[in-house]
Symmetry: C2
Subunit: 351 residues, 2 copies
Amino acid sequence: MGEFDLIARHFKRPAVALNPAVDLGIGDDCALLRPSPGIQLAVSTDMLVAGRHFFEDVDPHALGHKALAVNLSDLAASGARPLAFTLAMSLPEANDAWLTAFSKGLFELADAHGCSLMGGDTTRGPLNICITVFGEVPTGLALLRSGAQAGDDIYVSGTLGDARLALEVMLSVRGHGHGHGQAGQMQAPHVPPAVLAQARARLERPTPRVGLGLALRGIANAALDVSDGLAGDLPHILQASGVGASVNVDAALDLIAAKRHHAWPAAGFDVVFSAQDRQRWVLSGGDDYELLFTASPSQQAAVQAAAQSAGVPVTRIGRIEAQAGLRWVDQQGQPCDIEARSFDHFSAPGP
Amino acid sequence: MGEFDLIARHFKRPAVALNPAVDLGIGDDCALLRPSPGIQLAVSTDMLVAGRHFFEDVDPHALGHKALAVNLSDLAASGARPLAFTLAMSLPEANDAWLTAFSKGLFELADAHGCSLMGGDTTRGPLNICITVFGEVPTGLALLRSGAQAGDDIYVSGTLGDARLALEVMLSVRGHGHGHGQAGQMQAPHVPPAVLAQARARLERPTPRVGLGLALRGIANAALDVSDGLAGDLPHILQASGVGASVNVDAALDLIAAKRHHAWPAAGFDVVFSAQDRQRWVLSGGDDYELLFTASPSQQAAVQAAAQSAGVPVTRIGRIEAQAGLRWVDQQGQPCDIEARSFDHFSAPGP
């Protein structure tokens, strides 16, 4: 038995802990999953690469959490209930302490969602984590990107931009400027530790909105999870649905939690950060893992009830329109001179 | 749209080409698969890392083939019919010609098995390919490692050892000795080009035995695919089934195709290679992707009929016994002094 077979043992658990849909877990050529009658299986895969999606020296417990969280977020966006997942990873070395923490972070989140590790592969190589996740949704009830209707309200769950704020502050502390004008001036900004800790938690331990996704079945017309920023992801719904939208940019910009944190001195956030920083983080930040969805105005009460049952606030930020394109407006509904496309070059810079 | 979104377009195909079980393919947060009633879903995942599982400069068409083939081989070993797969990959650069060839190799094999790409993820990073594959098998009919019975015949399909022969010859040409005694002497051995070409095809374009796996449902008692060598993989069946085995080592050693190739001059193979080379390749070679399975002697005719219908020969190499452990015997049934465990350190050296 090789070193990496031993590593795989970190991920073996008693069969009694498996989701009942898993008939056979790790240890054979294939795992066996028994789908319930009348369901569709929702499947998503994400690959996380060291130095690209996370710092190589990230807390392995957080990394185990995040690797699964980003996949569960895809199930949430489809309104699917998590069942199981496979984990393939390449590791530069067999580090027992690292694996112990990683698997702990992974299984804590998995267990919270009844989502069983049912297969995997470990090998030596540059640090890379690939998870494929399986969920179930009653046939025809999956939330798709293509269902938005003109007149729908546009909602986003939770908060936006804090993960990217944390990433940029951490990069500046490490001496890696962002490379764009504003960020270049942002060498180790003075952010209260409690604010940074909250923002880092959003970056490193995102909460997949699984409960909200399930509660929105039959209520939302379209949904996705915001992983590349609002300005980059909303167009996916618009294009898939053949519609356009107006978005209240001020309502969106208010969604960054860091600005409201009580640990700031008076107006502290706006002294340390520029308006452009905030725009970039909220509109093009990435790593938010919030649900962006649309629903008919007639579903307004149902949306709020779903949000309440899931324990996460949702905010209406705009409206779907028949006219193609994404239009940013202010509180008064007047057009803003924000060029959504100009955010493209901020997307996905990685650590 | 970033560079790697453009790369992903190499993998987008018309929905009409999808397996009918795939209700929704690439382009949403999740793909949707509709399982047939009464089936179990067989799932396997494999990660291939450059420099470990393949040479960085390997023909990308062959790599596309192999990345899927090793996964289909797991479905074959479970007796599952391929349905669909997800592909996640990290690439050091966006090389259009490379992607074109890779996707061609991938889709040629996928189409031959009606197995649809239904989801994926592409990112920048060290070359890494992770495929998760889905197949279906009627509930309860999956071939498992745990079903072997004392008295069962042990069979292996096709040929063994040629892939590892090719790997070692290619390593010696590149100036990387194997590091073990015999191999150290094997600097660029004189192998007829036709022999090496055939062996390389086994290494670089393995044929997953999907048809054989399907034909063995209800006939074989246990099965797996040989990916780490006969001596390393047979014990997985023995341990899972709580049995032992006697294996005719001469029958096994005859399974290397290179020795029989007509391009050799008289006794050429045995002039160039040692008996130890052959033993290492056949018993501990790896990358064979043949099916190793057991069946009751009463199923002998049914096994041969299954092999004929699948178009691949199968060879009986031994017998399952109640006594634990793996015993190597010669043609006369006398014990051989081959220490199966001594092969452990040959396993999985990678390119």
